[in-house]
Amino acid sequence: MAFNFSAFAYIIALIVDAFLIFFSLFHVIAFDELKTDYKNPIDQCNSLNPLVLPEYILHLLFNFIFACSGEWFSLVLNIPLLAYHINRYRTRPVMSGPGLYDPTSIMNADVLTKCQREGWIKLAFYLLSFFYYLYGMIYSLISA
């Protein structure tokens, strides 16, 4: 068993993915709180907005490492989400700070449902990829 660059990539992906799972869990809970009236939309947007870019950058980070280590299949799996992130940020509402969520439109039922669904789908995706990266790590450790 030797330690190689692919195994390193998977280890990083595994750790970062664990963070991403927490991010999306937080996202889902935050929107649920909005829906059930526990939180003020301004506060909620203020706590969610600073997390958007870190999440996107973390996701970009391990994909960059995948690219460096030549793990093309793992990269391809992530490309749709990368593209989605870029497009989502490009079409965000007019705002001066970083982030995506605008307290004046977030309470619109369509937006709220969309954000909630986005949170669940990402959570599922990160969970599934967590196991895949685990597998990928073990596989690359063994095959090396």
């Binding site: 009236d37 007019v94 309470m107 039922a109």
Partner: protein, 887 residues
């Protein structure tokens, strides 16, 4: 006056019914193209569209894609029109032989509808048997072939439809249609039934309307449901004399002892005698637990643009004059405070400290980091410092005459206002004449004047979020900002309006304002006088509850949505309306009716905490026929207009225009489906309750907010859009489809009594088409805040002499902005008609007399929206387009 409704439809003789020419060209099944419709919620799916055959060679054509994706109405190919020379004549002949039928009007008491140019008739679709028609008429469900019905508009004002709950007491107790309107008066039992009907579901509300009768209750305990906090209302169910069942969440609650006491008869007993149970609009004086802090005083701060453009416009003269006159009528108690800030490239504060002989002006040059030059005396008690305030107002108009400062630091002024008022809350009134170009929130001119007529409109979105963020800060400190825009150049309303839109403010716009221009200065004076003296509610919140199984989907209006059913309104005023889209989440088949309740908690200008509650109850039905026949076309238009504004801003204007057309097509298609006529191609059928929908939609497409092809300044367009979002429904309809009256023969018209019981001759409404403008007539068009009296050259000299005091047409001035008072009956009749029309408006409308040969006649003619103008379809062409698409 509202009791008459429209005329009874006349049955046409079979020979009279022109067979629609389109039937000669049956649509081909071939060329269907998948077309993603950016529709409203009900039709956001992919649909196949049938393309009508345009070419005679029966080949499938895909021209439709271009037609629908175009940015204006698809133009009807010339070939099609020219190949059917009898089309126009069929249409025209339809209404001429029918003049005989107008005896119908004479059978009505006090009817005066016998003018020859006014004939209201309908052709009932030929597809239905006479028996069927009889039945349908009995149920108020007769239908109209729109293409065959030239005069579709009812002669009298269209009243809100009646809601029938199957019980007279409940019907009488239900909320007035002037306050609460629903797009359908019968709620479909499921979302799928709603989707089948293609109707948008929503409510429009005018919660703080000035009311003549309002029951005000002061009690120790306000009876509310313990689970959902609904206020007790006429539609609850009394289990026994001690308990009531909530009509929103169905919880059984205890009734307090106090509630069985009737304050009128001073006896205990049946709880249904209480005013809360008798009326669904009620106001409570709230006990202490409804206050988070002691009720705030009335605080008014005025921010005045004194840049060079502002000084040149001369608005300060009017502002000072009106405010000086109305200072004593400002609503408030002895704690009332006022303050003033002027701004150009710096901020001018006015200290009104005790003992000063005149106001002390302090300039703050640092606009990037705003500070207040002194801690107090900027906002002062009006009663104590009345003389200083008057002194300041007298100085203001000429004080900045020699300033040539081109800059305007609106952002900094707003920040200062926020800082000054954050402890109390209140109202900030901003007068803005030039583009805010320095300091925080500075903007640049984004409008390209060459693109004003283009099909795609850019820059509808705000340029930055400074004003929105500041508005949210203001909102959390109970400050509302109102804008009076008196611009002569682009000021980027799309961006600066954010300060009002999210703080519960209102926006007035006076484009190309100049003090010297009579209509504009009168309009500003009237609006400002109304604005200063009208009722105001401070630190308000409005909660909308609805029966379990339904939910509020999207809100429209100026406020901040704080949670799923709570709107934060730092100020509430009687001239603002709100809209909500509603969705049905659960099946409602096991309930008989559903309710909406709006509760507005506010602090009155006298420092009292009050709750105004409105409850609307609607029956639930299970058939498509019932749903469609319960549609409220005006309310639908009101809601669609609001949705289209969102669509224009978020997506694009062409998307919104396309959605309008699709809504008309979808609704009429689903109506056709509900009739079960099979495949027999009839005309374009619409039920009575939706017969005006295509008319209003074609009017909306030519409205300043949504039109393309006609030069429209960006600010005017954006302001028209925001008016769609905030105007209460009756005024909104009037601005979309103005009322047109013939006034040259008032003596022959119907007489009704006004509020003072005086007789007024009210002519019937005319449709907005030059077909009905007679060269010998005079016509009054009422657009809401402006009226136009259009004088045709052939009008009788007697009319000119008696009504307007001029001997002949040529002597009539082009610059006439009021009706002279002359001692004669004809003049009296005209003036009392105008007064009557004004009596229901928030303030008097301005009036302008237009000759049919003057250059300004285009302002009148462009409102005749049924006619064809350059590149927008006429109403009849629009109907033909719809007809071709209706499946």
């Amino acid at each position: 006056m509202g009791t008459q409704g429209h005329a009874t439809p006349l049955m046409s003789q079979p020979g009279n019914v022109g067979i629609p020419v389109q039937n000669n060209l049956p649509p081909l099944p071939g060329g269907s193209n998948p077309l993603v419709r950016p529709g409203f919620p009900s039709n956001a799916n992919i649909q196949q569209q049938r393309v009508p055959s345009i070419n005679q060679d029966f080949s499938p054509t895909r021209a439709n894609t271009a037609m629908l994706h175009g940015n204006r109405y698809p133009t009807i190919p010339a070939q099609r029109v020219s190949s059917q020379p009898n089309l126009q004549s069929t249409y025209n002949q339809q209404f001429q032989p029918q003049f005989v039928h107008n005896q119908q009007y004479n059978t009505k008491p006090a009817s005066g509808y016998n003018t020859p140019n006014f004939n209201h008739y309908q052709n009932v679709s030929p597809n239905q048997s006479v028996v069927n028609q009889g039945f349908n008429k009995l149920w108020g469900a007769e239908n109209y072939d729109l293409l065959q019905t030239a005069n579709i508009l009812p002669p009298t004002r269209i009243e809100p439809p009646q809601i029938t709950l199957g019980n007279d007491t409940l019907n009488a107790a239900n909320c007035s249609g002037e306050i609460f309107r629903s797009t359908v008066t019968k709620i479909p039992e499921s979302q799928s039934l709603l989707q089948k009907s293609r109707l948008p579901l929503g409510i429009l509300i005018h919660p703080f309307k000035d009311l003549t009768h309002l029951s005000v209750i002061q009690c120790n305990v306000i009876v509310r449901c313990r689970a959902c906090r609904t206020y007790i209302n006429p539609f609850v169910y009394f289990v026994d004399s001690k308990r009531w069942k909530c009509n929103l969440c169905y919880r059984v609650n205890d009734l307090p002892e106090e509630f069985q006491y009737d304050p009128v008869s001073k006896t205990y007993g049946d709880p249904s005698r209480r005013p809360e149970i008798k009326s669904s609009t009620i106001e409570y004086i709230a006990p202490a637990e409804y206050m988070l802090r002691p009720p705030q005083p009335a605080v008014y701060l005025f921010l005045l643009d004194v840049s060079r453009l502002a000084v040149e416009s001369g608005y300060l003269h009017l502002f000072s004059k009106v405010l000086l006159e109305e200072l004593v009528n400002l609503p408030g108690d002895s704690r009332m405070q006022v303050g003033f800030i002027a701004f150009d490239s710096c901020l001018h504060f006015f200290s009104l400290a005790e003992g000063l002989s005149q106001p002390h002006e302090m300039m703050v040059l640092d606009i990037d980091d705003v500070f207040l030059p002194c801690p107090d005396n900027l906002l002062v008690n009006l009663k104590d410092r009345m003389e200083l305030v008057k002194d300041l107002l007298n100085q203001l108009p000429s004080r900045y005459n020699n300033s040539y400062d081109n800059n305007s630091a609106l952002g900094a002024a707003l920040q200062a206002a926020h800082r000054m008022m954050s402890a109390t809350g209140g109202r900030v009134t901003v007068f803005q004449a030039s583009l805010p170009n320095v300091g925080p929130g500075a903007l640049t001119a984004r409008e390209d004047p060459n693109q004003r007529a283009s099909a795609e409109v850019n820059n509808l979105k705000p340029a930055n979020d400074f004003y929105k963020r500041l508005a949210l800060d203001c909102s959390s400190h109970q400050i509302a900002v109102d804008l009076f825009i008196v611009n002569s150049q682009y000021v980027d309303i799309a961006t600066i309006s954010g300060i009002s839109r999210f703080s519960g403010g209102c926006i007035y716009h006076f484009p190309l304002f100049k003090f010297e221009r009579p209509i504009l200065s009168e309009k500003l004076t009237n609006s400002l006088r109304r604005y200063i003296t009208r009722k105001i509610g401070f630190e308000a919140v409005m909660r909308i509850r609805c029966t379990r199984g339904m939910s509020i989907h999207t809100f429209h209006g100026n406020f901040f949505v704080r949670s799923t059913d709570l709107l934060s309104l730092p100020n509430v005023n009687p001239d603002s309306g709100y809209g909500m889209q509603v969705s049905i989440d659960e099946n409602l088949s096991d309930v008989e009716n559903v309710c909406f309740q709006a509760a507005l908690l506010y602090t009155s200008s006298k420092g009292e905490r009050r709750i105004r509650v409105h409850t609307l109850c609607l029956p639930v039905v299970s058939t498509l026929h019932d749903v469609i026949n319960s549609a409220d076309q005006q309310c639908i238009i009101g809601l669609l207009a609001k949705m289209a504004v969102d669509r224009s801003i978020e997506s694009s204007l062409s998307d919104a225009r396309e959605a309008f057309i699709n809504v008309a097509i979808d609704i009429l298609s689903s109506y056709k489906l509900s009739l079960n006529l099979g495949s027999t191609p009839g005309g374009l059928l619409a039920p009575n309750c939706l017969k005006l929908l295509p008319l209003y939609i074609s009017a909306l497409l030519k409205n300043q907010a949504f039109r393309t092809g006609t030069s429209t300044r960006l600010d005017d367009r954006v302001q028209a859009m925001f008016e769609m979002k905030t105007k209460p429904l009756p005024w909104l309809i009037q601005s979309i489809y103005p009322d047109l009256y013939p006034v040259h023969n008032l003596e022959e018209q119907q007489v009704i009594l006004n509020m003072m019981e005086e007789p007024v001759h009210v002519p019937p409404h005319l449709q907005l088409t030059s077909r009905l403008i007679d060269n010998n007539g005079a016509y009054l068009m009422d657009t809401g805040d402006h009226m136009m009296l259009y004088i045709c050259s052939g009008v009788s000299q007697v009319f000119l002499k008696e009504c307007l005091g001029v001997p002949n047409f040529n002597m009539l001035s082009d610059q006439m902005y009021e009706i002279p008072t002359i001692e004669n009956q004809a003049n009296q009749r005209l003036i009392s008609l105008i007064d009557y029309l004004n009596s229901e408006k928030p303030h008097r409308a301005t009036i302008q007399i237009i000759k049919d040969n003057s250059p300004s006649r285009s302002v009148f003619l462009e409102r005749l929206i049924e006619d064809r103008v350059e590149n927008a379809l006429s109403y009849h062409e629009f109907l033909q387009h719809i007809k071709a698409q209706v499946k």
